[in-house]
């Protein structure tokens, strides 16, 4: 297995939004979850994760809350806002369109 592939530019936001859509999660859990779901293909580096989380928060897509974590320590949990949910739908649709298009090209050419 080669190096974990870099995330396609702009898809990290989509992954984060999707991951926190079900329930509030803290940063570490988000990274873990993305890794698990993608069978460790997608490795989110801390260096991109936290800036992205903060950016999404500032933009009002996600909201942070401090709560007790499973280990009993205070952690910052991110959850989706109403606006974030709409954004998630929009980005998902966008991604579908894009990946379908790419697939089409790759498979027919």
């Amino acid at each position: 297995m080669g190096k974990p592939s870099d995330l396609v530019q702009g898809t990290l936001d989509l992954l984060i939004l999707k991951t926190v859509a079900l329930e509030p999660k803290h940063g570490w859990a988000i990274a873990k979850r993305i890794g698990q779901l993608s069978n460790d293909v997608l490795q989110v580096q801390q260096g991109s994760l936290y800036p992205a989380l903060h950016r999404l928060e500032q933009q009002g897509w996600i909201r942070a809350k401090w709560a007790e974590s499973e280990t009993g320590r205070e952690a910052k949990f991110y959850s989706l806002t109403a606006a974030g949910r709409k954004q998630l739908d929009a980005e998902t649709a966008n991604w579908k369109r894009l990946s379908d298009a790419v697939n089409l090209v790759v498979e027919t050419a």
Binding site: Y50, Q58, E74, A75, K76
Partner: protein, 887 residues
């Protein structure tokens, strides 16, 4: 509802920034803990687990920074931080900071001051509705090459009635009038405007109280009417609306106040106190004459008509008038210029020249700061290198230097604005003769301009040092051991180049200042033709109403002379219509009776002065031929004339003047028909009407002919002339307490008033030039000191190996003088190219005056040499042991 969420975030990030920082730390720490826990679960020892987690995590500081960059207000935050750093860095070297701020303040202050003057005087539109359409109209002549002559009354009437280009065209001429004492207030001499009724509507003025002039007011034999300025109304009537309808005496004639003009209306300038009507004031002959040029004329163009078209229109009218009146000074064309341009044409060149000089000064100041910053950057190379190695991006470092330079330039601007305010107050005080001087204020434009300057200066000064350091060099700085202090050749090269430019600009300024100074010196050296020390001068005007007819005037003038002459401390008194050196005054078309008639279209022009019988003796104006007037050549027996040497030379072509006759149609006795033929009885020396021009042909007539009530007195005193002002004024008041006396000055002051602009220009330019010379010297000194410090080791080795101290001295001197010499040559070339532009402002001085150029070159070399000598001498005194040990 996304905006609610965003607003909430914004407020939170603004108000709880400290808490958020804490939380960010905690969040990242939590991540590391989770990772550690996972590692332990995977079987590592706790310590090992934590290290692995930290390793995986990367640079926590960098990560924190990256996360923060996404926060709201991040730009503001980082800007504030840069400013804080900048202030701290600058605070560590207060000497440098202070010098830099002062240097910039001088440059920016003077530039802003001159910008304000240029903007207020030359650029800002006149405070009138649609000022672009308001024109100043003069008579012009294609043969005599005149293009801004006053307009004759008759020509004005032909223009008014015949033109197709102007909505309105009007006379508005300034004049001084005597205002008589009233309601316990003193008599005074006030500036007024005589105008036709259309003038004020043309300018777009409506009265605050009362009404403007109508055609009836503006006619012969009407009742006198006057409109007063807002300031006059406040001052003399305490702002009482009841002033309208009252009567005041102007030159002893009753005038009814028909209205008050608005406060904003200050045309032609703030000093004008009242407006009255021209047809009421002027004699009918004057208003119909085509060769007696007395009036200033303005016009408002019809919509869509250009000044050039209007000029062609009026010129064709003038040309047909000229054909109707082939004799005498009747001009054949007109000149139409925008009013603003016409009012400011005399000062335009000099103001732009001074503005350019301040621009040079500012550029020099800016280069100097850049130079100092380059030096600082060089000494901070290691700090910068280390910071780069630790992950500081090049952009950030450049930004910091930029912020530092901008801090300096903004501080300099703040101080500079104070300086500019002071300079403007000084300038307005000194140059009250400038057109529109009352419009000069530090306004919003000036502030914006200074902010712009601050930004430009900051960027120029800040980027120069930033650009000499590239990434590779920074790395090399780290690799180099501390021995290799002589790195940074690029910075030395850059500094030398900056210096050369600085020196070149300084040379241009010095040459300009030198030329102005020399021109001023020439101007002051030229005598006006009579001695001016120990003379008191003043102006009187006898109003026609109370001094009707020649006899009354002569009686007053004679009594006054007799009374003043016997005052203790007075040696003699001279009375004339206009003193030499005071101004250009009346000139008339004259003919020599005995000569054949002139070719059609030609005329002879001479200045005309009226003098008392003792005038030539008391003024010490030499009588070259013939005799002076005798006291009985007066009233009906006054047909005599004395002419100047230049009159004989230029008008009579050197022929014998005595016994010939001069005709001057403008100086007939009332009721006299035909031309007055005056016998020439003497020839006197030439005088200059204003300093700096040649002695014009002049003809003198006896004052005791009684034609003139407007006279200037010259009282020749034994001691300080100004000490005699009060006794002389008291003597005047004893004769007529209603008669105001104006312009009470020593003769030197009176002439100095005419030189004020030249003296001012020379002073100002010299200040700029000296400042820039000092700046250039400081720059040279700084650069060479820096080079010496850098080469300490090398010089130590040289001396240790047997180099003579003189050799070292010479080596270092040459090193320092090179940029100075290069700059000097560049500057001299630049001066040759630019001084042509100010030739028109120079008197008796060539734009390429070799003395000035040589002096400037010598002075610059001397100053540069001195500035280089100190560091060079220090280098030659180096103790080699010491120098090598510091390696």
């Amino acid at each position: 509802m996304r905006w609610v969420e965003q607003l909430r975030m914004r407020l939170q990030m603004l108000l709880h920034r400290g808490r958020e920082s804490q939380r960010l730390l905690a969040e990242l720490e939590f991540h590391v803990e989770q990772q550690t826990a996972e590692n332990i679960a995977a079987g590592m020892s706790p310590e090992e687990a934590r290290y692995a987690a930290l390793r995986a995590f990367g640079n926590p500081t960098l990560l924190r920074e990256r996360a923060r960059e996404n926060w709201n207000w991040h730009m503001v935050e980082s800007l504030l931080r840069d400013i804080r750093y900048g202030v701290r860095t600058l605070g560590r070297s207060p000497g440098f900071t202070l010098i830099a701020i002062i240097v910039l303040a001088l440059g920016i202050g003077s530039t802003v001051a001159l910008f304000t003057v240029v903007n207020s005087v030359l650029l800002k539109p006149l405070p009138l509705p649609e000022p672009d359409r308001v024109m100043a109209i003069h008579e012009a002549d294609t043969i005599a090459k005149v293009d801004n002559n006053s307009v004759a009354g008759g020509t004005f009437e032909s223009w008014r009635d015949g033109n197709k280009s102007f909505e309105k065209i009007a006379i508005a001429t300034q004049m001084d009038v005597n205002l008589s004492a009233s309601n316990g207030q003193l008599p005074e001499r006030v500036q007024g405007v005589i105008s036709t009724a259309e003038a004020l509507p043309l300018l777009g003025v409506r009265p605050v109280y009362g009404r403007l002039f109508n055609a009836t007011d503006d006619s012969y034999g009407a009742n006198g009417t006057v409109l007063v300025s807002w300031g006059f109304w406040k001052r003399r009537f305490g702002g009482d609306p009841g002033a309208v309808g009252r009567t005041i005496l102007l030159d002893a004639k009753p005038h009814t106040i028909i209205g008050v003009l608005p406060a904003w209306f200050t045309y032609p300038d703030q000093r004008v106190q009242l407006w009255t009507t021209v047809y009421f004031w002027a004699a009918p002959e004057t208003m119909h004459s085509h060769d007696s040029h007395n009036f200033a004329v303005i016009g408002r163009l019809k919509q869509g008509v250009s000044a050039a078209a209007a000029q062609a229109d009026l010129s064709s009218i003038s040309l047909s008038e000229r054909k109707l009146h082939p004799d005498g000074p009747v001009f054949n064309a007109a000149s139409v210029r925008p009013l603003l341009e016409s009012e400011t044409r005399d000062v335009k060149t000099v103001l732009y020249a001074l503005f350019a000089a301040t621009g040079c000064l500012l550029l020099i100041a800016c280069l100097n700061i850049a130079n100092l910053l380059v030096a600082r950057a060089a000494t901070r190379r290691r700090e910068l290198a280390i910071r780069t190695a630790l992950g500081g991006s090049r952009g950030r470092l450049i930004r910091e230097q930029l912020v530092e330079a901008l801090l300096l330039s903004f501080a300099g601007t703040a101080l500079g604005l104070l300086l500019a305010q002071g300079a403007l107050m000084w300038l307005v005080h000194l140059r009250s003769d400038l057109p529109r001087v009352d419009a000069i204020h530090l306004d919003l434009y000036a502030i914006l301009f200074s902010v712009g300057l601050a930004v430009i200066c900051g960027v120029v000064a800040g980027l120069a040092p930033a650009l000499i350091e590239d990434e590779a060099q920074v790395v090399r700085a780290l690799q180099e051991s501390s021995r290799a202090v002589s790195g940074g050749h690029r910075s030395v090269h850059l500094r030398r180049a900056l210096l050369s430019v600085e020196v070149a600009l300084t040379v241009v300024l010095l040459v300009g200042a030198g030329l102005f100074l020399r021109s001023y010196q020439k101007l002051c050296e030229t005598s006006i033709g009579v001695p001016t020390d120990h003379v008191l001068t003043m102006t009187l005007s006898l109003p026609d109403m109370s001094y009707r007819g020649p006899a009354k005037k002569v009686a007053f003038e004679e009594t006054l002379i007799d009374r003043i002459r016997v005052l203790p401390g007075v040696r003699a008194v001279s009375v004339t219509t206009l003193l030499p050196g005071a101004d250009n005054g009346e000139d008339d078309a004259i003919t020599i009776h005995e000569d054949p008639p002139l070719k059609q279209g030609d005329w002879l022009d001479a200045s005309v002065r009226f003098v008392d019988p003792g005038y030539f003796e008391s003024m010490k104006l030499p009588i070259l031929k013939g005799r002076s007037f005798s006291p009985d050549e007066r009233l009906g027996h006054n047909k005599y004339a004395i002419v100047s040497e230049s009159f004989v030379r230029e008008i009579m072509h050197g022929r014998q003047p005595l016994g010939k006759h001069v005709d001057d149609a403008n100086n007939n006795q009332p009721g006299e028909k035909g031309e007055a033929s005056n016998e020439i009885i003497g020839v006197v020396g030439n005088v200059r009407e204003v300093p700096g021009e040649t002695g014009r042909p002049t003809v003198y007539f006896p004052l005791y002919g009684g034609l003139h009530g407007y006279v200037q007195l010259a009282v020749h005193t034994e001691g300080d002339p100004l000490q005699m002002a009060i006794p002389v004024q008291k003597t005047v008041a004893a004769l007529d307490s209603n008669l105001p006396v104006s312009d009470v000055l020593s003769y030197d002051q009176l002439i100095g008033k005419n030189n004020v602009s030249e003296s001012f220009d020379a002073t100002l330019l010299s200040i700029f030039a000296v400042l820039s010379l000092v700046l250039a010297a400081v720059g040279l000194f700084g650069v060479l000191s820096y080079i010496v410090a850098q080469r300490t080791g090398e010089i130590g080795v040289r001396i240790a190996l047997g180099a003579q101290r003189e050799q070292v001295l010479r080596l270092m001197l040459v090193d320092g003088m090179k940029p100075a010499l290069f700059g000097l040559v560049l500057g001299l070339i630049g001066s040759i190219a630019t001084t042509r532009l100010i030739q028109s402002l120079l008197y008796g001085t060539k734009a390429l005056d070799p003395v000035v150029f040589a002096t400037v070159a010598a002075a610059l070399l001397a100053v540069a040499g001195l500035a280089c000598l100190v560091p060079a001498w220090r280098a030659s005194r180096l103790d080699p042991m010491q120098a090598l040990r510091t390696e």
